[in-house]
Symmetry: C2
Subunit: 738 residues, 2 copies
Amino acid sequence: MEGAYSFLRRLFFPISIIILLFFTVLNLPYPPSSPADLSSSSDTGGCTTNSAWCFSSKNRFHSTKKQLVLDHPTESSKRSRHINAVPRHPLDPLTISEFNKVKAIIQSHELFQNTQYALHTVALEEPEKQSVLKWKKGDPLPSRKASVVARAKGDSHVLTVDLDSGSVAVVETGHHSGYPTMTVEDMTSATWAPLSNADFNRTIIDRGVDLADLACLPISLGWFGKTEEKRRLIKVQCYSSKDTANFYMRPIEGLTVLLDLDTKEVVEIVDKGKNIPIPKAANTDYRFAAQNSHQNLLNPISIEQPKGPSFTVEDDHLVKWANWEFHLKPDARAGVIVSRVKVKDPLTGSMRNVMYKGFSSELFVPYMDPTDAWYFKTYMDAGEYGFGLQAMPLDPLNDCPRNAYYMDGVFPAADGTPYVRSNMVCVFESYAGDIGWRHSESPITGLPIREVRPKVTLMVRMAASVANYDYIVDWEFQTDGLIRVKVGLSGILMVKGTSYVNLNQVNAQENLFGTLLSENVIGVIHDHYITFYLDMDIDGSNNSFVNVNIQRAYNSPDVSPRRSYLKAVRNVAKTEKDAQIKLKLYDPSEFHVINPSKRTRVGNPVGYKVVPAGTAASLLDLDDPPQRRGAFTNNQIWVTPYNRTEQWAGGLFVYQSKGEDTLATWSDRNRPIENKDIVLWYTLGFHHVPCQEDFPIMPTVSSSFDLKPVNFFESNPILNIPPNAEKDLPICNAAASA
Amino acid sequence: MEGAYSFLRRLFFPISIIILLFFTVLNLPYPPSSPADLSSSSDTGGCTTNSAWCFSSKNRFHSTKKQLVLDHPTESSKRSRHINAVPRHPLDPLTISEFNKVKAIIQSHELFQNTQYALHTVALEEPEKQSVLKWKKGDPLPSRKASVVARAKGDSHVLTVDLDSGSVAVVETGHHSGYPTMTVEDMTSATWAPLSNADFNRTIIDRGVDLADLACLPISLGWFGKTEEKRRLIKVQCYSSKDTANFYMRPIEGLTVLLDLDTKEVVEIVDKGKNIPIPKAANTDYRFAAQNSHQNLLNPISIEQPKGPSFTVEDDHLVKWANWEFHLKPDARAGVIVSRVKVKDPLTGSMRNVMYKGFSSELFVPYMDPTDAWYFKTYMDAGEYGFGLQAMPLDPLNDCPRNAYYMDGVFPAADGTPYVRSNMVCVFESYAGDIGWRHSESPITGLPIREVRPKVTLMVRMAASVANYDYIVDWEFQTDGLIRVKVGLSGILMVKGTSYVNLNQVNAQENLFGTLLSENVIGVIHDHYITFYLDMDIDGSNNSFVNVNIQRAYNSPDVSPRRSYLKAVRNVAKTEKDAQIKLKLYDPSEFHVINPSKRTRVGNPVGYKVVPAGTAASLLDLDDPPQRRGAFTNNQIWVTPYNRTEQWAGGLFVYQSKGEDTLATWSDRNRPIENKDIVLWYTLGFHHVPCQEDFPIMPTVSSSFDLKPVNFFESNPILNIPPNAEKDLPICNAAASA
């Protein structure tokens, strides 16, 4: 145990010293270890094959000790694959050489001469939808463009860089009420910056924490009024990492530093927690190596595919499995993007369009404590921190089973230098022992029939660790045409220090804003909302949204003695407001996206329905500043007409925004949506009242919604799939170590 | 294809002929093939070792051809195990020899002398809860008793048979407004009985159906008033099985026979469907052998455990796995019963009580068509048909994966003779590639931490085929203390014939009561409700039910600029009406069952919460006769004080009952429930608007609710479980046939 602790202490100490030294001699808005200074420009575009940092942003900011976590047997082959990568599909993400080209073009652009600047987003600017839809394998790619969001001299610029011509088009420039997604450099430098302030250091020491044990987090502060106007700010809160890897459980409660993110200047230090002890380290470390005892409850169990998986990944991004095909790519902001999702029609054999593009567009995570050190915690993890930037390498055999395929992400540092996030996404086949469909004849008929099909699905997974919390995002494809989108919550709670060690000390009238989880530790109540962008294209782009309302109807007594029954009443949404859906338990509906121009043999319009679950709704006051920014959670379902610029439910510049550019404001324009290219938005919601089982790390809690074919196929599309037979299953032996 | 059809035709034809012959010469209330006539009384108690029928009720009613479906490699060893079985736990179900003892005792009881009689229920009368709780392995068993529900001379009798003394106590006798669960003999004889009526046969022939192709179903008719008073009735509806195994898709629409279940007399024949054609057989057969083409989309995939499963089943019924232990048994009415559910405390090592008993108590499946041939379809599958009686043998490798353990059911025929339902329940470990808990440190801290634990669970499964529908009921146990109860719906829709072949023929005003699925076939809208009995005993029997209401609160502006937040307000239910819970999306709560006498180290009461999902609510008029009978679905959650006689949510005699003995009537007595031995009831609900993908057989649709520890453990109970490592996983090869 002691070994693990001292390892961490050894780690923090030199870093802190180095940073302090740097801040004594320099006063730079970007830390000196920025990739631009470290990278050598080479033919491979700034990412030398023997440079370890190139393969992990993590490695760039900290000691090389951590490399081992990311090491992977195929690292060197991956390295050359990434360096030689060329785009092969119109939606393929930017390659390393394309990132480097963008970097060079930006470097020489007039906006960025003789000034510090940072690139907050560099990503493929996807070609026009129509040209992607027309494109076929073998065709030349539409021209490659990069969308760049950059900051310089206090302004945010949205640029389009043409990678062929090298030209730069300025799409938007100047002041915005909000700011772009933080760079990783913004976040890490914010955690060090307060250490250059003597008052801060004195406060920490006054709270009994050794500076060498300090761990701080950059906490986005939302927008609450004048204080947050006209400068890019962040709050920093700190923890003691003494004797635990889980510093999150040891808050220096009540201490908040307000920091200018551009100048790294400490604006304000508030400490309202002087009387609150720092919770003890005991029982907080969750790492296997830190446990006193080990419990081997289970024999080894594994999903085995001796002939290998049944899917292929063509050209690094095109996934083909069973009756499905889709394009898959990592994204710094969204995490994972699936595009051009098509499913095979079992009758015609043709691939039919289901969804043009799907991704997690924004998160909203308001904490329910209105006091000084907590009120502002109303995170928007995608737009503020970058859901993909925080998606760390997956752990083979634990995050994903054997036979998983791992996809890397390539993202730019603040200066535009690309780096590789290894194993960021995995793709695997799952079989849990579940049943695809079945029927036995019963003793009533006694017919000798027992037909059962096992259910095997394809999973696409990433896990984003936005500081303490871990979000596991799964896209699951089923052979029956269903797509399940599932979000799992694990990781570590954001907790609050308290002087209480037992509930019996708490006055019945007092509101703890959460649950006492351990001595001096409160798990604060919070919500999670994850809003998905789902550009459904059911057999083509022009679709309609239909509310199939299930209503009680009454029967005339001359027909039968039955009094009431339910009937389904279809209402096609004409405009956006018709499709602002608050789910109703006692006035239920099905929600279909149909192609009004295409019908089945017997005349039903072909469609998919969104099947809600995880339906928790935000209950904050609609005029509360956080809820105005998170107004995209005011309804569980929205439908908007397709508009290239409307992709981020909280707005492009969500950081410190006031909520003037959200899905809610777009939708209130009430544009026509009938028989148009439409986008469906669904929000998964969770209320989380913590409990002791969540301490010191949370067992995964999941929720999911489905996109389910409804009269899309003429009939059950998986009739002719064979059942399992003993002769086809593998023959396994215990491992060599057994 | 033709081969499969002609096999079925060969099967139906001789049976029909034989039945017609029998009904010409005999006029018995029980068909001549009743087990009493076929079975030879022997030392093994009426179940001879070489008699195949003994091991399947199915085999007893039909040709021996069907045996092959049930054959199982271990059949003969199972046979002797069942015959020699002795009870070893107070809750063990009746053994074959105990069933035979009951049969003999009843035979010689005065109530049943010189009269026809039928045993509708013979099941263990469980000992008093206190004596079960006190019992420890090695102690002598509490005295063994059987609870018998029998009918004779038009009366229903509830008896307790003491198996030691042979004494019979009459618990209840005489007239009831409802009747007991049908015997399998009731159901099968109802399908044949109309054939003895010349008018019926003429009607069938008039509808163009050959008598040899006829397949009929016994359909419980609920209660709608005088017509259903004072005689045990059933409706029979028929189908053509010509050219398909899926006769359900070929209804002889509009034809309903009203039959007296006791006398088998045809009371009334109504045919309102003369103008409705019988839908074609094309595309209806779902069997693999009947498909024109096969699609092998996937390589073999299997859950492999080379060292075998990690659970044991002691004394045939006591399941031990990881940190769980529970008693498991099949039940003719409930399907599966789990009892004495305990989980290990990781700190003390002791087994802690969670639930005394859990099972699916009743189903309510109202169809939403008020017309003559449909209005009465408001099934209560457990109390009317026997959810366990309809649970057929599971299909190894398809219903359950490799390494599953199969448990047989032993049930009595109407004359009391026991038979074995092979492989009725399976137990297996599931691993889907999911994550138990995880945390990676993010690029913000850059710490070298990535800890992930795979999620392996234990599943208990049965699949009940109540004629057309298949209900898959899963009890899933997780190592983190969570119990998930999941119901999957598959099987075949109950469809309605129509003259329409395309929606364009239908007037916009006309209500089809469902979806046109294929030419001349409508899938009628319906609901499914499955109500679970959950006798929670959190660390002891005396528990309380707490509504933890999540409310919006407002903040004073001098504290912070945040306006609103959510707080959790705990309300302990004093009496039953406080715990009649209609879920509210916008006024949410958590629902805890706590032990008010036991607190965690920091003072939280230990508890479990029920986490709702599948929350569809019945929207029928509360005064509609079906909803009065199904009043147990008026709330999603109820809590009652423990009462041995209150187990069946729709009442003990649910068949044709008026709804005077339901969970709703018990709960309205508003008894105290605070710090008492309480029972939690949860109803999973589904609205089902059919779609073409459900034709001719439905891909499984599932919903589940959770019982989740909430401050039950001091902390996350699965910290010290190791992650997967390559060296522990199996080494597999493709099967020999590869």
